[in-house]
C-alpha cells in the first residue's frame, strides 16, 4: 500500500501530466483523498484480527462404492438384489450437498456452496475436498442426498450443478439426485434395462433425503491448521432396492420422479452411506 503510493508519488514528480491534472481537481476530492488512506489502513488491520480469531483448514471425504460388501465394477460384475434377482450397473452417480458439521458442544458449521456430484465413472469425483472449515473437533456430519429445494429452481448453474452433467431434467425442472442405470434379466423393460432416476422436490413426491451420522467421540473429525483429516464412507448402491421396501425388478425397473422414486429414496435414505473410518 505504502509502496504503491510512493511509486505514484515518484511518477508524479517526473511526469508533468499528473501535475496538470492535479490542478483540475475539485476541493471535495481533496477531502475524499485525505480520508482514503485512513479507511484503507483501518480495514487492513481489521481483517488481520479476523484471521487470527478463527483459524480455518480443510478435510477430505472419500466415497467408496460397493454393492453389498463387494466393490462396484461398472458393466461387468453381476450382483443380487434383496429379492435374489441378478443385476448389473452401468451408471451410478449422485449429489451430496449442504454438508454440515457439528461439534460436541452443539455448534454447527454449514459449508457454503457445498454441492458435489459423485460419479463412479470418474475417480476424481469420489474424493472431495472441503476448504475453509473452522478448526475444531467435530462429532457429527450431515448432508443432503440430492439438491436442496431452492437450487432446483434457481436458474442456470455451473460446476456440479451444470446441466451438462446429465443430472438435470429439462422438461420438469429439477435435479436427478441419484441416477442408477443397468440391466437385470428380471426387468420387463426393453433390453432388460434398469432406469432409476431419483428426483423431485414437490410433495407428495419429494425425494430430498438428509443423511446424518454421529462420529465416535473418541476419534472425532479433528480439523487443524496442520491436520487435514480424511473421512471414508462406504456407499452401497444396492441400498436403492432394499431397506424400507424390497424392490423386484419385474415390477419396478423404471422411475424418473414420482411415487416410485419416493420408494427408492426412502430405501437409500438410511442405507446408502456408512461412515467407515476417519484418518486424522
Amino acid at each position: 500500500m505504502l509502496a504503491t503510493q510512493i511509486f505514484i508519488a515518484f511518477r508524479m514528480t517526473i511526469n508533468p501530466f499528473y501535475l496538470t491534472q492535479f490542478h483540475k481537481m475539485k476541493l471535495s476530492q481533496y477531502f475524499l483523498a485525505f480520508l482514503c488512506p485512513i479507511i484503507l489502513f483501518t480495514s487492513c488491520k481489521k481483517s488481520d484480527d479476523e484471521i487470527t480469531a478463527d483459524a480455518k483448514s480443510s478435510f477430505t471425504i472419500e466415497f467408496e462404492h460397493q454393492v453389498n460388501g463387494v466393490p462396484l465394477v461398472l458393466n461387468n460384475a453381476t450382483y443380487k438384489n434383496a429379492k435374489g434377482e441378478d443385476f448389473k450397473i452401468s451408471i451410478f452417480k449422485y449429489y451430496v450437498s449442504n454438508i454440515k458439521l457439528t461439534k460436541a458442544d452443539g455448534t454447527t458449521y454449514l459449508l457454503p456452496e457445498s454441492y458435489f456430484l459423485i460419479d463412479e465413472s470418474k475417480n476424481t469425483s469420489k474424493i472431495i475436498t472441503l476448504n475453509n472449515v473452522p478448526t475444531g473437533d467435530y462429532t457429527k456430519i450431515e448432508y443432503t442426498i440430492g439438491v436442496d429445494y431452492a437450487r432446483n429452481f434457481a436458474g442456470a448453474q455451473t460446476g456440479a450443478l451444470d446441466p451438462v452433467n446429465g443430472m438435470f431434467w429439462t422438461w420438469n425442472s429439477g435435479y436427478i439426485f441419484v441416477k442408477l442405470e443397468g440391466t437385470s434379466p428380471q426387468s420387463t423393460a426393453a433390453n432388460n434395462a434398469l432406469t432409476f432416476h431419483i428426483g423431485g422436490v414437490v410433495d407428495p413426491n419429494n425425494t430430498i433425503r438428509n443423511f446424518s451420522t454421529e462420529i465416535n467421540a473418541a476419534n472425532p473429525l479433528r480439523i487443524r491448521t496442520d491436520g487435514k483429516p480424511n473421512m471414508h464412507f462406504i456407499v452401497n448402491a444396492a441400498a436403492l432396492f432394499t431397506g424400507k421396501t424390497d424392490i423386484s425388478f419385474s415390477t419396478l425397473n423404471f422411475t424418473m420422479g414420482g411415487a416410485n422414486s419416493v420408494i427408492v429414496a426412502d430405501n437409500y435414505a438410511k442405507g446408502l452411506f456408512r461412515l467407515d473410518h476417519i484418518h486424522n
Partner: protein, 336 residues
C-alpha cells in the same frame, strides 16, 4: 500523505472521462400499468453485449442437430414470437412436436414455463427446446463445442462476460437477457389504460371490454391477460395430452394447461395447446357451444360462455386492441 492520496483519487476518477459509447443502452422496462415482475436480473445484469449474444444464439440455426432450426424458427417476431400457421412445433428432421409454440413476451412476469408449467425458471427454459428430439435435437455440450470453434462467438462471450469461456450458464443467461427484455406493453389497450396520447376505445371495443371483464377475465386476468393457473377448458372428453399431470402426477391435473396470455392474440394463432383452432371465431364458438364435460373441466366453464354473434364481434374488437405493433416491429428484437 495527502498529496499522494490526491493522486490516487485522480486514478479513481479517470474512468469518468471516457467517452460513453453512442450505442443505445438495452434496458428492461416495466410498463406502469403492469404488476411487479418475477425475474429481476440481479444475477444476470443486462448489458448490450449480453443481449446481443443472446439474440444471436436465439436466431442461430447451426445450434440444432441438423442445423435447420433456431429458437426463432418457431418463435417468430411477426407472430409475437409464436409460430405462425403451425399447430405444433416443426423441429429437426421434419419432426412434429406435440404442442403449439407459445408466444414469447412478458416472460419476466412468468413463474412457470411451457403449457404444463414444468420449467420454473426462465433461465433454464431454453434447455427443453435445445434437447427435445422433435425441436432442436441436440445437447448443450455439442453447442458449447460448436460455439468455441465458431467466430465471432468467443469474442462475443468475452465482451458479454469478461472472458472467452463458454459454458451452459453463460449461454442460458445471455439467451435470458434477450428473452426477458421482450416486453409487450404498448398496445392500444395499454395506451387507454395509461391514458396516453388521448387513446380511447371505440364503442365496439368498449362493449367488448365490458363483455371481456364479465366473461373472460376470471382466467385471462389483466394486465397480463392470464392468471397463470392451469385449467381444463373442455376441448375433449378425454384429453390426448395429459397436460399438467405430467408434471404433478395428480389425476386432478390431467388435461389441464397453463392459461395463455391474450396479448397479441391477433397474431399468435393457431390457438390452444395443440393449435386446433385457426381463428378467433373458432375459439369463441368453442366457448359458446363446444365445451365438453371432461372430468377436470374448470367449474367456471360448466355452462360454457354463451355469446351471440354481435357479442363475439365486440370481444374480437377488444382482443385486437391487445395487439402491440411497436413490439412486433421493433428492430431491436429482429434477426439482423
Amino acid at each position: 500523505m495527502l498529496f499522494l492520496s490526491i493522486v490516487l483519487m485522480y486514478a479513481c476518477s479517470k474512468n469518468e472521462d471516457e467517452i460513453i459509447a453512442p450505442e443505445k443502452q438495452i434496458t428492461f422496462s416495466v410498463p406502469s400499468n403492469f404488476t411487479a415482475p418475477a425475474y429481476h436480473f440481479e444475477d444476470n445484469k443486462i448489458t448490450n453485449a449480453g443481449f446481443a449474444l443472446g439474440k444471436k444464439l436465439f436466431y442461430d440455426a447451426r445450434l440444432s442437430a441438423d442445423k435447420s432450426v433456431s429458437c426463432g424458427s418457431c418463435h417468430q417476431q411477426f407472430a409475437a414470437f409464436a409460430n405462425l400457421d403451425h399447430k405444433v412445433s416443426h423441429g429437426v428432421n421434419n419432426c412434429q412436436g406435440k404442442r403449439n409454440a407459445p408466444p414469447l413476451f412478458n416472460l419476466a412476469w412468468q413463474k412457470a414455463f411451457f403449457w404444463d408449467g414444468g420449467v420454473k425458471n426462465i433461465e433454464t427454459s431454453p434447455l427443453n427446446a435445445i434437447t427435445d428430439a422433435c425441436e432442436m435435437g441436440t445437447d448443450v455440450e455439442t453447442i458449447i463445442n460448436l460455439l468455441k470453434n465458431t467466430s465471432p462467438y468467443p469474442q462475443m462471450f468475452n465482451k458479454a462476460f469478461g472472458s472467452v469461456e463458454i459454458n451452459s450458464q453463460r449461454i442460458l443467461k445471455s439467451i435470458t437477457q434477450f428473452m426477458a427484455v421482450l416486453v409487450s406493453g404498448n398496445s392500444k389497450y395499454d395506451l387507454v389504460m395509461r391514458k396516453e396520447n388521448g387513446a380511447s376505445f371505440n364503442s365496439l371495443e368498449l362493449a367488448g371490454y365490458h363483455l371481456f371483464k364479465e366473461k373472460c377475465s376470471s382466467c385471462h386476468a389483466e394486465p397480463l391477460f392470464t392468471d397463470f393457473s392451469y385449467r381444463n377448458n373442455g376441448l375433449d372428453l378425454v384429453s390426448a395430452d395429459e397436460g399438467r399431470s405430467h408434471i404433478t402426477g395428480l389425476a386432478t391435473d390431467f388435461g389441464t394447461f397453463r392459461i395463455p396470455t391474450l396479448r397479441n392474440i391477433e397474431y399468435t394463432g393457431p390457438y390452444m395447446h395443440d393449435g386446433r383452432f385457426y381463428s378467433l371465431d373458432e375459439v369463441l364458438e368453442h366457448y359458446n357451444s363446444g365445451i365438453k364435460p371432461s372430468p377436470n373441466l374448470d367449474p367456471l366453464l360448466k355452462s360454457g360462455i354463451p355469446l351471440n354473434s354481435s357479442e363475439k364481434e365486440q370481444i374480437k374488437a377488444f382482443l385486437k386492441t391487445l395487439t402491440d405493433n411497436e413490439f412486433i416491429k421493433n428492430t431491436l428484437y429482429s434477426e439482423s
